[in-house]
């Protein structure tokens, strides 16, 4: 690298450090109060992320996988016209909705209605695919394997006493928590005969406490995760300050006053 490139690179690094420090501090000021600087930092963050994503999508997805093949030889990949047309419809419908002014009298024009109807097609396709993929995945990846595992674990005839006890407790706590969450527990208990009422109340009591325990565990691990993020951010701030001239100014001022 030439000296100019090195100088430019180090200057950009310094600017990046200062910008990162400023944005980090303004975002952390949200702890005190919402303020315009924090909102500005949030806007910058969101804008930069969206801008980066937009450029990435155009350069790495749309250009090489859609535009380039169609421009080279449209006849070779005619099926690529489908996503192009659907994407243009969505853009047109969404853009028309963004820029048009709402008229207080009369209905929308005919071409506007047609555009909205056509724009609904790609949305419906996306929704349908997403829902289909989600439901199929939930069945094959979560519901069935977890159910099979629970059934194997709980109904193993060769299991030891402690395993059977664990299986029973798991069943009781899980079912008690589900009933507590999705049913009117008090109403359910009140409608039962006396001898069932106490057993049902105990079952629901167990499920409720199981929920509390699970929530506590989730909270504890979540706090550990957030502590890690905070530690990383504080260390970054310390590193940035030490790399910048702020630290040297502070040291010189300290030495001037206190020797």
């Amino acid at each position: 690298m030439t000296s100019l490139e090195l100088t430019t690179s180090s200057a950009l690094d310094s600017i990046g450090l200062w910008v990162g420090l400023a944005i980090s501090l303004t975002l952390l000021s949200l702890i005190v109060r919402d303020n315009p600087f924090a909102r500005l930092a949030q806007h910058i963050l969101v804008g930069a992320a969206l801008g980066y994503a937009a450029i990435l999508v155009v350069r790495q997805l749309l250009a090489p996988r859609l535009f380039a093949p169609l421009l080279e030889d449209p006849g070779a990949n005619p099926w690529l016209l489908a996503p192009l047309v659907l994407g243009l419809l969505l853009w047109a419908a969404g853009g028309e909705r963004l820029i048009r002014t709402r008229s207080t009298t009369g209905a929308d024009g005919g071409w506007r209605r047609l555009l909205q109807m056509l724009g609904a097609a790609p949305v419906a396709l996306m929704l349908g695919v997403t829902i289909g993929v989600g439901v199929t995945g939930a069945l094959q990846g979560t519901l069935l394997p977890q159910f099979v595992y629970a059934a194997d674990f709980g109904f193993d005839p060769l299991a030891s006493g402690s395993q059977i006890l664990v299986g029973l407790l798991t069943l009781l706590i899980t079912s008690g928590a589900l009933i507590h969450l999705f049913a009117d527990a008090e109403g359910l208990v009140a409608q039962q005969p006396g001898w069932v009422r106490s057993a049902l109340a105990a079952w629901l009591w167990l499920g409720k406490r199981g929920l509390w325990l699970a929530a506590g565990f989730v909270f504890a691990r979540l706090m550990a995760s957030r502590f890690s993020l905070l530690i990383g951010r504080v260390e970054y701030l310390m590193y940035t300050v030490s790399q910048s001239t702020l630290w040297q100014w502070a040291e010189s001022i300290w030495q001037a006053f206190f020797g």
Binding site: I31, A49, L56, V57, G137, G141, S228, L229, I231
Partner: protein, 399 residues
Amino acid sequence: MQDTDQPERESTASPYAAAQPWLSVDYTEAAEGDLLTNDAAVEESAVGKSGAPGQDRLVIGVQGLLRPIAILNRLPQSATPDREPQPDEPRTAAPSSPTADELRRLRQTLNAEPSIAAFDLAPLSGRLPPLRIAWVFWLIGLAIATPILLSFNRPMGRATEWPGVAEAYIAIDNLSINADVLVYWAYDPATSGEMDLVALPIVRHLIDRRCRLIVVSPLPNGPAVARRLFTRAVADAQTSSVGSPGAGQSLFIDGGYLPGGASVLPLVGQDLPAALSPEARANYIGPPDLAIVLGAQAEDVQAWLEQVQPLNLLPVVAVVSAGADPMARPYLDSGQLRGLVSGFDGAASYWRLSGEALSPPEDALMRGQLVYQNWGAFALLLVLLLGNLAALSTRRSDP
């Protein structure tokens, strides 16, 4: 709203029955021409087990909600076809259908929260302690920042060895040299403060095994984060006492950004080369031997296990943040995950299992995490303790 042509009724139990007589439980209006009798008659018919009208109704207080519709639909008595107008009765024009503005107000009224008219709010008994959330944030922030600023190195303790870490280590250690590993990089700079810490020992282990990493990401800036961490891991490997000579950027294959969220994952499971970037496709040799999911959220692991793993049947090792651990652990118990590494303690356990000497920056990073996490946990326990004491003292002071 008060209907002026309704006779006055004595208030029985409800303090605001005079203002809104239809809220009274014994409201049985049968005045001529009053369309609200329909609502009252329906309510009266809902007689409960006690036999008292309206005592055991399932839903109460909805009469007032129906009033706007009743008012709009009410025809003046002179307009009813089966009633001849009296000579001295003023003639009123038949009402027109409600305009768009009236319909808009009607929808606004129906969708708004119901408000109780003429109801005196009683002051709260006792004094609730104020919820000073900012103080909690400051306390925890100072508890973590002060040890960092003053370079505390105690208490360090020992990281918890969660189940799944040893299994993850064995799964990676059993890979053949130069094996291909598919890495689903599902975190971005927002969570890299924690995830880099957790992913670093796994990436170092893969580099030591000379594994080729085929990295795909559902996030636009995921590949950039992956490349940054990989470069750092290579540099650390070369400076540590037990390094991996010859490791380089050739082990990193950027599979690119996968748009569409979970919808694109079935393609990854069915036809991985079609999902990769053109550059990665050119370097694709064959199906990988292991899949590693690096995710800050449990949903990323779930999506992979639901969409990809049933299709390509690759063993999966999950590397997640501490917050995602509870939701990912059932998948380890059911056998869908081969291993699970979560949080700073999972990373520390993994380093211990690898037996590698850490480079000075890595060592300082891990030691610092253990110390500062302890300080944060102490601050959190103090907040919980003080909060419970405040709640107990408030409860005792209540009459």
